[in-house]
């Protein structure tokens, strides 16, 4: 038993008060001279022995009440078994797919078993396996057979290396006691992300057992559609040029094979044309290298048509959204032609979700007539991976737009006041690296020529501000909604509150925005193993994502993280210096562990309840005694 606030135990000294009172007031009962005592003899009077017992019980109850109160304030908790006084050694075994090359994981297991054998005899030994996530397989215990069995049962998976999770879990397994964390890994440089902040106990010593550098490896790092062809990218992480056969299967049927030669430490593409189908997998044969990166899955999207749905007041685009319609009807977005359809807000509620999801992007230009059902259709579309643009013009109501964006974003749109021309503002991109503004390059200054006479006041939580007005207020924001994206512009796109459609930047801006939103729609079908939604097995392949409250079931391609195949490594010293920096957080982490442990047990509530019971019993006994 430990205490989160042990100083409160000093309060238990108050238990001495009833003891002193008890000693000072030996005969507290009133004494009455009575004539008919003889008649009481046969009554159920309290015998001296019983009375003494009652007094002792009373004293015990009073002392217990005070002690329990002090204990409740001291916040007791039962520490994890690992936080006992014995030292411990925790083996953190890397099971990422970078260890899937022949013989590598066997070497890792051998190193781990050696670490168990070399652990001091007085140490408890536990095992943590880690890749994208870490799991405490065997808590520290004196039974080393359990640790050996856990190591033998481990196998490399498809996850990437994440040292943060590994060190945190191993540190928590140690608790506050002294010990050693032995990390058995191949020291992948990508294992530490920038800004990672792991915590280990202050008394923990961290050792690294190096499995060794990656072997020569060929990896399929890309499979994408480009117009009417499929492109497979192969990376060669070896010091020599290698030739490899790339096989492509679509919808379970072989679709072709290409031989490519890949220079040392370089990439090469294998191109497949005339492919039909939707679910593709590209495979190479690289028996010496990593196995998990020999294949890559993708949902093919070769359609040259990018369909955009514009929601306006009447659905008549030439009347409600003339400039948007003309801009999107010209040119292409991402290599495909654009098709723009219009719909009145009042009609959208009658559309099934599937019909809306056929569009690559939806432009919400008016909320007139957009009923609850229509808002839910748009919200569901965005959450399930759709791209949504809201142009906060005169036909857009802030409350309706907030409903569409959902409670997670807290979108706040306030209709503008009338501005005189002298008060007009211009727009300045804040993040020129964002895909919408990146193509403009040095020409982003051209946005400064656009005059905005009226702008809505725009704010939202968790969104990135892409551009600002000269007043400093947000002009364009980018938000994530579920698997989709939301772009909000704080003015209209129909030459009413600004002259943006009359400027040369309008058309490319609109095209880039639609392309960006369309990509969100396409990318919603791709996941890395470590990022799969709940309910989906974290293994490469093409799977069906189960339906959620806001999204229908859909197919998705799951691949290993290509960064895991990169051969760049940390040195042991670099790894150690990172751990040394994290060591200082060990005490705080131990404290956090204790707080979590205490808050999960809530023993103080039991102590308080026991005190109340003791006081209640004391009241009853006292009434029958003195």
């Amino acid at each position: 038993m430990s205490f989160l606030s042990p100083l409160f135990l000093i309060g238990a000294l108050a238990a001495a008060v009833p003891i002193v009172l008890h000693l000072l007031k030996r005969e507290p009962e009133p004494r009455v001279k009575f004539a008919a005592v003889a008649l009481l003899r046969h009554a159920p009077v309290e015998r001296t022995s019983t009375r003494r017992l009652r007094q002792i019980v009373l004293l015990a109850l009073r002392v217990a009440a005070l002690v329990l109160l002090a204990i409740a304030f001291a916040q007791p908790f039962v520490p994890l078994a690992a936080t006992a006084s014995r030292r411990a050694t925790v083996i953190a075994l890397d099971t990422s797919f970078s260890l899937s090359a022949p013989g590598r994981f066997a070497r890792a297991q051998r190193l781990a078993r050696e670490a168990v054998a070399q652990a001091p005899a007085t140490d408890d030994v536990g095992v943590v396996t880690f890749a994208d996530r870490a799991e405490l397989v065997t808590p520290p215990s004196a039974d080393r057979g359990l640790a050996i069995a856990a190591i033998d049962a481990a196998a490399p998976g498809f996850g990437g290396t994440r040292y943060l999770a590994a060190v945190n879990v191993a540190g928590r397994a140690l608790g506050t006691r002294a010990g050693t964390i032995v990390v058995v890994t191949d020291l992948q440089e990508g294992g530490w992300d920038a800004g990672d902040h792991a915590s280990v106990p202050a008394a923990a010593h961290v050792e690294v057992r190096d499995v060794g550098a990656l072997p020569e490896n060929l990896a399929v790092v890309g499979l994408r559609s480009e117009r009417d062809r499929e492109v497979v990218t192969i990376r060669n992480d070896s010091p020599r040029t290698r030739a490899v056969a790339v096989r492509l299967s679509v919808d379970g049927r072989p679709a072709g094979e290409r031989s490519v030669s890949v220079d040392a430490h370089a990439s090469a593409d294998a191109v497949f044309g005339g492919i039909t189908g939707s679910e593709a997998v590209a495979v190479i044969d690289d028996r010496e290298g990593l196995q998990a990166d020999n294949s890559r899955y993708a949902l093919l999207n070769r359609s040259s048509r990018v369909a955009v749905l514009a929601v306006t007041a009447t659905g008549d685009l030439d009347r409600d959204a003339f400039y948007v319609h003309q801009a999107l009807a010209t040119g292409d977005a991402g290599g495909g032609s654009l098709e723009v359809a219009g719909i009145a807000g009042g009609q959208l509620g009658g559309w099934p979700n599937e019909r809306v999801s056929a569009y690559s992007a939806v432009l919400l230009l008016s909320t007139r007539g957009l009923d609850r059902r229509g808002r839910d259709v748009l919200a569901s579309y965005a959450a399930s991976g759709g791209g949504l643009l809201i142009a906060a013009g005169p036909d857009v109501d802030g409350d309706v737009a907030a409903d569409v964006a959902g409670a997670g974003i807290k979108l706040h749109l306030v209709a503008p006041e009338e501005r005189r021309n002298s008060d007009s503002q211009s727009l300045a991109p804040g993040d020129v690296r964002h895909p919408i503004f990146q193509p403009f390059g040095p020409a982003t200054g051209s946005f400064g020529l656009v005059r905005f006479t009226r702008t809505a006041r725009l704010s939202a939580s968790g969104c990135q501000t892409l551009a600002q007005f000269t007043s400093g207020e947000a002009a364009v924001i980018d938000c994530g909604i579920g698997d989709g994206r939301l772009i909000v512009i704080a003015s209209d796109l129909n030459n009413r509150w600004n002259d943006f459609p009359l400027h040369a930047t309008f058309l490319p801006f609109l095209h880039e925005t639609v392309r960006y939103l369309s990509n969100a729609h396409v990318k919603s079908g791709e996941y890395l193993v470590g990022e799969v939604p709940s309910g989906v097995t974290p293994a490469p392949g093409i799977v069906t994502i189960p339906a959620t409250a806001t999204a229908r079931p859909r197919r998705a391609a799951i691949n290993v993280d290509p960064a895991e195949s990169e051969p760049a490594r940390l040195s042991v010293d670099e790894f150690g210096s990172a751990i040394a920096r994290l060591k200082e957080a060990g005490v705080a982490e131990a404290r956090n562990v204790e707080q979590r442990r205490e808050s999960s047990q809530h023993f103080w509530q039991y102590a308080l309840a026991a005190m109340m019971v003791a006081l209640a019993v004391e009241g009853v006994v006292a009434r029958r005694t003195i």
Binding site: E27, E29, P30, R31, V32, K33, F34, A35, A36, V37, A38, L39, L40, R41, H42, A43, P44, V45, E46, R47, T48, R51, R623, R624, T625, I626
Partner: protein
């Protein structure tokens, strides 16, 4: 209807007809025992002028026409023969009745929860009885007892005897243990002529010994009247906190939680009272339970009933 019930109903009737009796708390504030006795008796007698109790004495006072409720034994049949009307004779006549008042001075009589302890109440009653008897020219004597006879004043009708009686009462103090067997036997052996024995005690002794001793008096031909004096606390047991009860006479201590023992105690004291009432009544001994919060006049009326029967 049993005689005792009849008397109690008569006493109640008197209380209804006469003024309210003096509260013992008022009596307690009066100065001397003589003053207390005089106040009680004179007050009682002034009320009795309008009551059927007139005539307990034997000195003829007057004739009065019979009215319903009068004792048939008081009808003068000679006058009826002469006048064909019912008249009753009213007396105020000297008597040779000797009365002995036995007052308990054991330690338990010292208990008080109100202004008057049981002993003070008993002494006041004894003084009042002495005053009343002296006024009616009955001989009255006094004996105080605990486990022996502590003090004795022989019965007499001499002028100034009341003073001796009151002085003796004033000098009494409750103190020792109760054991009625021996003193009752001594008194019974000392009785030379029929008379009246009045016992004033809390009777917190062996009930069998008490009843046996009182029967001795009765067997000797004396009328016996027992005043069982108890404090309200001894009847109601009103204590509320756990208490260490110490016996007045034996210093025995008993720890008790009143809430737990009250019912048992009340049953025990009720059984004791009922036993005395039943066994003494069965032996022809008048028994009167007195609560120290009751007016002393109640006891005097009980005496007057017994006295009337004795004469």
């Amino acid at each position: 209807m049993p005689r005792q019930d009849r008397e109690e109903r008569a006493v109640q009737e008197v209380q209804d007809r006469t003024r309210a009796f003096l509260d013992p708390a008022v009596i307690a504030r009066l100065g001397t025992l003589e003053l207390k006795a005089k106040t009680i008796v004179e007050g009682l007698l002034s009320g009795l002028h309008r009551s059927p109790f007139k005539g307990f004495s034997v000195e003829f006072a007057e004739y009065r026409q019979y009215i319903r409720g009068d004792d048939l034994s008081t009808i003068d049949w000679k006058v009826f023969a002469r006048s064909d009307r019912y008249y009753i004779k009213k007396f105020e006549e000297e008597t040779n009745l000797n009365c002995h008042v036995l007052i308990d001075v054991s330690g338990s009589m010292a208990y008080r929860s109100r202004e008057l302890s049981k002993f003070e109440y008993a002494a006041c009653l004894a003084a009042s009885l002495g005053y009343l008897m002296t006024r009616q020219r009955d001989g009255v004597g006094l004996m105080a007892f605990d486990d022996r006879i502590v003090s004795a004043v022989p019965a007499s009708t001499r002028p100034g005897h009341l003073k001796n009686l009151l002085v003796a009462l004033t000098q009494l103090q409750p103190g020792s243990r109760t054991d009625v067997a021996k003193p009752f036997r001594q008194v019974a052996e000392a009785l030379t002529r029929r008379g009246m024995i009045i016992v004033i005690s809390d009777l917190l002794d062996d009930p069998e010994a008490v009843v046996r001793g009182l029967k001795l008096f009765h067997h000797r031909g004396s009328d016996v009247l027992v005043f069982h004096v108890l404090d309200p606390d001894e009847i109601d047991f009103p204590f509320d906190r756990a208490t260490r009860f110490e016996d007045f006479e034996t210093a025995e201590e008993v720890m008790a939680v009143p809430d737990l023992v009250r019912a048992h105690y009340q049953k025990a004291i009720g059984d004791l009272i009922e036993r005395y009432r039943r066994e003494l009544g069965g032996a022809g001994i008048d028994y009167q339970l007195l609560n120290t919060k009751q007016p002393i006049e109640t006891a005097l009326l009980a005496y007057l009933y017994t006295r009337a029967r004795a004469s």
